[in-house]
């Protein structure tokens, strides 16, 4: 994302009338996007900020409460337990998924595979599967009674641990998310690798670098931008975790609480709990936490680049 700034390729138009005409023309193209953007991004942020300063009660109606909602959020153990859970998910699942995606991309790029295009599309295909369908499929596969895990238990006379038990359910969700997005990230890395000039490899080889050295010294630094972007998207994705746990809930009601992830918690608050002002506050706090972490990732990525 940081690399975008220098893209202003439009040649500076001649001064005077023509420049202001061109100036207006720019807005003709950017305007429609920005108008809808204001409606679905900026307005909700402003509105939730407004909501977070009020409380709506059956008795007494809406009243201004200052920062009470924020104070409540900072002391809310259920909320922070949910944040802790997605943080744990983040530090385990994201490195595993991105590491595997990178290794697959490097293998594809090495040119040492038979049937390269088959592998590329096969690993990517799960991305086209909706989270709902992915979770339903894996949910069935995880089943110890009728599912594949149950089949294996029966056939081999073993008893594998239940993937949907409270202690394993987070790892099982991690597997579903990895399955869904490994191909997408692989493709981002692979596309970035394709455009690294081949002459760089040859130069490194002439200097006596082996294949592994070329990977660590040439290929990975060359795609750092793609790595940073993929990491930021994955971090944001982890904080937003909702679909998979929400759908698995009907299969594993004991393992997945109503405050399993921050998003599940705000969802429960606003639709079952009817505490919409507080839900808006929690959304805001969560948005800020996410932005801070995404920003930290970006800074780290940039520093290494420099």
């Amino acid at each position: 994302m940081t690399a975008v700034t220098p893209i202003t390729t439009g040649r500076r138009p001649p001064a005077g009338v023509s420049r202001s005409r061109r100036g207006r023309a720019g807005w003709v193209f950017v305007g429609p996007f920005m108008a809808v953007f204001a409606l679905v991004f900026l307005a909700p942020i402003a509105y939730s900020l407004y909501l977070s300063f009020f409380r709506d009660q059956l008795v007494g109606g809406t009243s201004f409460v200052g920062l009470d909602n924020f104070q409540r959020a900072f002391e809310d153990e259920q909320f922070w337990a949910a944040v802790g859970r997605v943080l744990l998910f983040l530090v385990v699942q994201v490195p595993v998924m991105l590491g595997l995606a990178l290794l697959i991309a490097l293998a594809l790029d090495s040119g040492r595979l038979y049937g390269k295009s088959f592998f590329r599309i096969a690993v990517f295909l799960p991305y086209a599967v909706p989270a709902v369908v992915a979770t339903l499929m894996w949910g069935f596969i995880y089943g110890t009674r009728f599912g594949l895990v149950g089949n294996i238990n029966e056939a081999l006379g073993v008893s594998l641990p239940d993937p949907l038990s409270p202690s394993l359910v987070l790892a099982s969700i991690g597997n579903i998310v990895t399955w869904e997005f490994i191909g997408y990230n692989m493709l981002i890395f692979y596309s970035a690798l394709r455009v690294v000039p081949k002459s760089l490899y040859e130069a490194a080889e002439i200097d006596g670098a082996g294949e592994w050295r070329v990977i660590t010294a040439v290929k990975i630094p060359a795609i750092r931008g793609a790595l940073v972007i993929a990491t930021i998207f994955s971090v944001i994705g982890s904080f937003q975790l909702f679909n998979e746990p929400s759908i698995l809930q009907s299969l594993a009601p004991n393992a997945i609480t109503t405050y399993f992830t921050p998003n599940l918690y705000t969802f429960t608050l606003s639709f079952s709990g009817r505490q919409q002002n507080y839900a808006a506050t929690v959304s805001l706090v969560m948005g800020v936490v996410t932005m801070i972490i995404a920003y930290a990732v970006q800074l780290r990525g940039m520093r290494k680049e420099a």
């Binding site: 040119g111 096969a122 295909l125 909706p130 369908v133 399955w179």
Partner: protein
């Protein structure tokens, strides 16, 4: 998950075994630039392909089973009578053909939502790449900042806002938020900067072509791979959307497929509900076929579009 990680480790370790190429042999047959194919690496890659495809194979196999043999046969092989066609016709007719209705809803959301999102992203990306205008830096900062805002953090406030505007429980509630794709804008911006020579636009202007005409007749054809890429990715997002409709839509008549399938699954898991696991599975299969077909058929376009997008990424 352990299988592919094994693959990857082995892959990297193997590569280290290769002796560094001697100085004068850089143009030899087997080098980093012109490598020898490896059976072992291919087999290890095969494991990742198995991981990726196994659940899909499971889905296809189990869509051919009846409700009964679904529950008492081995998951990864066929069993009992071949009931795929039966299952499909049951899926399409169950509850007065509600599945078809969900399919058409999804199509509406995808065509208007993803189509609109692509249109806005193409216009905006072109504007950002090829024009100087007041406020351009502000646009850049806002949109990049917005990428970091979790879309789901916006969902609850958007719902509250839309319900004040009377939009919830209508298709608009799903379509309007789908119209914005910051990633699409970013990709089109990078792509337009690369793919359209500014000289070409200058030439069209000198010939007296207006800005809009220049855009449609000169720029648009050059943007095709980028447009297909953005269209495919926004289509996937809209087709697969769950969080947004689950918040916005209460009326099953406006459900997209994802919500409908989940409703069937919950019905099957509820005590006393009619178990329709075979419909959940067959419906899931029918839901993913169009997208997988689109990706396979349009491979050439979206792969080149992504490659161009990553130049600056």
């Amino acid at each position: 998950m352990s299988a592919p990680s094994f693959t990857a480790d082995q892959t990297s370790r193997r590569s280290t075994h290769r002796a560094p190429a001697p100085r004068r042999a850089a143009r030899r047959k087997h080098s980093v630039a012109r490598p020898r194919r490896s059976t072992v690496l291919t087999l290890l890659m095969g494991l990742t392909a198995v991981y990726a495809l196994m659940p899909l194979a499971w889905l296809v196999i189990n869509a051919t089973k009846t409700q009964k043999s679904l529950l008492d046969s081995f998951g990864l092989w066929f069993s009992g009578e071949f009931a795929l066609w039966d299952n499909i016709s049951q899926t399409l007719t169950y509850d007065d053909g509600i599945f078809v209705r969900w399919f058409l809803n999804t199509l509406l959301y995808v065509v208007v939502g993803a189509g609109g999102a692509t249109f806005l992203a193409v216009l905006g990306g072109y504007g950002l790449a090829k024009f100087d205008f007041a406020g351009k830096r502000a646009v850049f900062a806002t949109v990049i900042g917005a990428v970091a805002v979790p879309a789901t953090a916006l969902a609850v406030p958007t719902f509250l806002m839309f319900s004040k505007m009377g939009l919830t429980n209508t298709p608009w509630a799903v379509i309007i938020p789908s119209l914005i794709s910051p990633f699409g804008l970013y990709l089109m911006w990078v792509f337009a900067a690369e793919a359209i020579p500014t000289e070409l636009l200058e030439a069209a202007r000198v010939d007296g072509s207006g800005e809009l005409r220049t855009f449609f007749q000169v720029a648009l054809p050059l943007l095709t791979p980028g447009i297909v890429t953005v269209l495919l990715f926004t289509m996937v997002q809209t087709w697969n959307n769950y969080f947004l409709p689950v918040i916005m839509i209460k009326n099953p008549d406006w459900y997209p497929l994802t919500l409908g399938l989940n409703a069937w699954n919950q019905q099957a898991s509820t005590a006393g509900g009619q178990p329709v696991f075979n419909l959940v599975i067959t419906g899931s299969l029918l839901t993913i076929v169009p997208l997988i077909a689109a990706f396979l058929l349009l491979q050439r376009y979206w792969q080149s579009g992504l490659a161009a997008g990553s130049v600056k990424g």
